[in-house]
Symmetry: C2
Subunit: 115 residues, 2 copies
């Protein structure tokens, strides 16, 4: 392998790892969907669960992971009974290109399948 080939191989590996990083943070069935729903504005836990069609147990885990990665903010509201609200962080906006690209692809894919 010459220097250029080695460099190309290192670049490819690096790019593959960056995709894996992204998938580690927002991969899975729900995270990008939740971010998309929250882009509409803050939501209460129960609203999110209903809108996304996710069971509370899974939703709770997904939101916790999003919070850990600075993509979602959890706010406990001093109401009776206590309610918990979720909203997007400024940082989450950096995902807009990923979300837009996925929307467009899904749209085209649906057309392809429906024919």
């Amino acid at each position: 392998m010459n220097t250029d080939q080695k460099k190309a191989k290192t670049n490819t590996k690096h790019a593959r790892l960056t995709i894996q990083d992204t998938l580690d943070v927002v991969g899975g069935k729900w995270k990008l969907v939740l971010i998309f729903i929250l882009s509409d504005g803050k939501k209460k836990f129960n609203e999110l669960s209903r809108e996304a069609g996710i069971t509370p147990r899974i939703l709770s885990k997904e939101l916790q992971e999003l919070e850990m990665n600075d993509l979602v903010i959890r706010t406990v509201c001093d109401t009776k009974p206590v309610t918990v609200e979720y909203s997007l962080t400024e940082y989450s906006k950096s995902l807009s290109d990923v979300i837009i690209a996925m929307c467009k692809w899904g749209e085209n894919h649906r057309k392809k399948i429906v024919g």
Copy 2:
């Protein structure tokens, strides 16, 4: 809810479903990584397994799903022993915007974390 609000809600739901469609087809830990690796050119099953670091059992399942969705072509080569090669379809190129957006985001996210 007035007509505009209803329309906005319908559009939001539609966009959410298109994201879910995309995640149904290329979501999960491996599919986009495999497509990225194959963008380099066709690979034998064992090469793919080694390069991606996926067990043969999972790789086989992932490739089968990619093939079903017209993203990957499986070719049986008349060698001794028989080998199986995988390559990308023309249609898989439609995912390039998704892959590029994910590469960029992963790159920035890594910088953010490393600081």
